[in-house]
């Protein structure tokens, strides 16, 4: 019978979603019985554009697949091209890449926490985490010249070095951050109201998470110890990373994973700053890429997969990006049915979605 269920559009222009995405929700009272996404609001066609631009220009393009973990996009791309062209990156550059990667992870996780807090109306927590994030943004601008899209990674190394004094600043920043995290951590871990909203929300089993191909914190919150940094790209060869895992499989576990990862990132930055060798920051790369390769990098949201196919010209034949949110979309679709309307944004944000890279 018509009218027996409620149907509403959730998005695309919706203030809890920073990015346009429509969920077509079917509700019973306020219980979601069906949720289907309609996307395409940020599809640009970057993969095609990348075939038209020179492979060196593409660095700036892939950084703009997503502004949040732009550096890691550039990193994955450059690593792929380097593999194709057999370039060995100098050690100092590898360490610098790690430092910027981890700073990106820190800013991304803080940003996510703020958005999550916003989704359950915790304005102060949003303010607190974004305020702490500014420290990262500042150090990013100081070291790289840009706040969000830093454009420091190039083929064969990095564009900029971090001086001794700035290294000290970096350490200072992570110290400040660690202190701030001590304010934030108990709020997420123990606060009654936050736990009320997160515990049990959007729960999936470890089995489901595995089968549906989830990556990053979504997988790790289900106890799947997968973190591509373990395989040792860049300087992760020297700086060992153990995946942070939780077993709850719900929004709370995902939040815990990310908070704990921030501590881990702080640690990695410290190690990298301590161990960074002196030397060149880039080697020149000559010629054009040829052949096909897959390059993978662990982004804040999980593992990104770059497939690069070059035909020996300046232009690539194919560039394909599988971003982490793309992989986490299927798990998200299984989390939504059965939840309360009020938890829809919480669940969506608990996977830390990035639509712009999902659609490219």
């Amino acid at each position: 019978m018509p009218g027996s269920k409620s149907i509403i559009p959730f998005g695309p222009q919706h203030p809890v979603f920073p990015e346009p995405l429509q969920l077509r929700l079917v509700l019973e009272d306020e219980k979601v019985v069906e949720a289907l996404p309609a996307i395409g609001y940020v599809h640009r066609g970057i993969e095609k554009l990348a075939e038209k631009k020179e492979y060196t220009q593409n660095i700036f393009l892939v950084e703009r697949i997503c502004g949040i973990c732009s550096f890691m996009h550039a990193l994955a791309y450059c690593q792929g091209i380097e593999m194709l062209m057999d370039v060995t990156v100098p050690d100092r550059a590898r360490y610098l890449r790690v430092i910027w990667s981890e700073l990106h992870r820190l800013h991304s996780h803080l940003l996510w926490l703020g958005l999550l807090a916003d989704s359950f109306g915790f304005e102060s927590l949003f303010m607190q985490s974004w305020r702490s994030r500014e420290a990262v943004m500042d150090i990013m601008e100081a070291t790289a010249g840009g706040r969000v899209i830093i454009s420091t990674c190039i083929i064969g190394g990095v564009r900029r070095d971090i001086s001794e004094e700035l290294m000290a600043e970096v350490l200072k920043t992570v110290d400040v951050l660690e202190r701030d995290l001590e304010i934030i951590r108990p709020v997420v871990f123990d606060d009654y109201s936050v736990k009320q909203r997160l515990v049990g929300t959007g729960r999936i089993t470890s089995e489901q998470a595995y089968d549906l191909g989830s990556v990053g914190p979504v997988a790790r919150a289900c106890g799947i110890a997968r973190d591509f940094r373990e395989t040792g790209y860049a300087a992760y060869k020297e700086i060992k990373v153990t995946p942070v895992t939780e077993t709850g499989g719900d929004a709370y576990a995902r939040a815990r994973v990310r908070i704990r990862e921030m501590y881990q990132s702080i640690d990695i930055v410290r190690q990298a700053v301590r161990d960074i060798p002196a030397g060149d920051i880039a080697v020149p790369a000559r010629g054009n890429p040829e052949g096909e390769v897959i390059s993978r990098v662990e982004q804040p949201r999980g593992e990104v997969i770059y497939y690069i196919k070059g035909d020996g010209t300046k232009n690539l034949e194919r560039l394909r990006v599988r971003t982490p949110t793309f992989a986490n979309m299927a798990p998200l679709l299984t989390m939504l049915p059965g939840c309360e309307l009020a938890n829809v944004p919480v669940i969506v944000l608990s996977i830390d979605p990035c639509i712009s890279c999902t659609e490219r």
């Binding site: 409620s6 509403i8 559009p9 959730f10 919706h14 203030p15 809890v16 306020e30 807090a117 916003d118 989704s119 359950f120 109306g121 915790f122 304005e123 102060s124 927590l125 949003f126 303010m127 607190q128 305020r131 606060d191 109201s193 936050v194 009320q196 909203r197 309360e340 309307l341 009020a342 938890n343 829809v344 944004p345």
Partner: protein, 284 residues
């Protein structure tokens, strides 16, 4: 207040109260900002906002919603005037409820999903606080033998001493009415949420201004009721009200918004439990 000519009191209530309310709202925003380590808007920001809204294009989804916005305001003014005149509080509360019902109906009169969800949630909010308000009045009645506001002001002993449990319950009601965390379900006055601006979503321009002005009256009303808990000495009453107001803002800033089923459970157990216990104690 009761001594003055009722007409003057009524006029005062109609014209001075919104400014007090606006000031409180401004203070609220300022304090909230400070709690988040921000500077925040100027104290008179609410007034700027409303003047701006009044000058905007009056767009609506349908004409009916305007009537409800008007009723919302008028009932609220009526309620404030009644209280200011020291009239029957039970009647005043009924009228307050109609003000809210007008808002609910206004939200439902447009076929906009978010506005409707907001209305339904507002109904749930009413359902959870209305019994407590009435129980509060019952408590007052049992003490003063009267529902008249003026009798409370005239009575010798502070209400707070006889209604120690109803007072916290009322503060919870106040948090709902002020749309503060952990409540704030129907309008999302603070921050964003799943239903955007809920019940007020489809009001814009001057009509949104009407709702905002009504909110000013409402804030004053709540302040007034708290003050009544220590009506024997107005300064003490005001101090208590100020402290409560501050605590509400503090609470808003240290808690996430929960969900309305939680609210219904909480209000019908904890708050109602407090109120009922207190009232029963008065019977004995």
């Amino acid at each position: 207040m009761i001594m003055i000519d009722p007409v003057i009191t009524a006029l005062l209530a109609i014209f001075a109260v919104p400014f007090i309310g606006a000031f409180l709202v401004g203070l609220d925003r300022k304090l909230t900002a400070r709690m988040q380590s921000r500077i925040g808007p100027p104290l008179l920001q609410p007034i700027y906002d409303v003047i701006k809204l009044l000058h905007k294009e009056p767009i609506v989804v349908n004409r009916v919603q305007i009537i409800y916005a008007g009723l919302h305001l008028i009932f609220m003014v009526l309620c404030v005037v009644l209280l200011a005149l020291g009239q029957d509080m039970l009647m005043a509360l009924f009228i307050l409820a109609f003000s809210t019902i007008s808002l609910i109906l206004g939200g439902m009169s447009v076929r906009s999903p978010y506005s409707r969800i907001g209305s339904q949630r507002e109904i749930m909010q009413m359902l959870s606080y209305e019994p407590i308000l009435i129980l509060m009045l019952v408590g007052i009645y049992l003490i003063n033998d009267s529902f008249m506001a003026r009798d409370i002001l005239a009575s010798g002993k502070p209400l707070l001493l006889s209604l120690p449990l109803i007072f916290p319950a009322f503060l919870m009601v106040m948090a709902i009415k002020l749309q503060k965390s952990p409540f704030d379900f129907s309008t999302s006055h603070h921050g964003h949420q799943e239903i955007i601006k809920g019940i007020t979503l489809e009001y814009s321009g001057p009509f949104l201004a009407i709702l905002e002005i009504t909110h000013w009256y409402e804030i004053f009303l709540l302040f007034f009721i708290i003050t009544m808990f220590w009506a024997t000495s107005i300064p003490v009453g005001l101090l208590i009200a100020a402290v409560c107001f501050f605590c509400e803002i503090l609470l808003d800033n240290i808690m996430a918004r929960l969900t309305w089923p939680w609210m219904l459970r909480f209000m019908w157990t904890v708050a109602l439990g407090l109120a009922v216990t207190n009232v029963l104690w008065l019977y004995i």
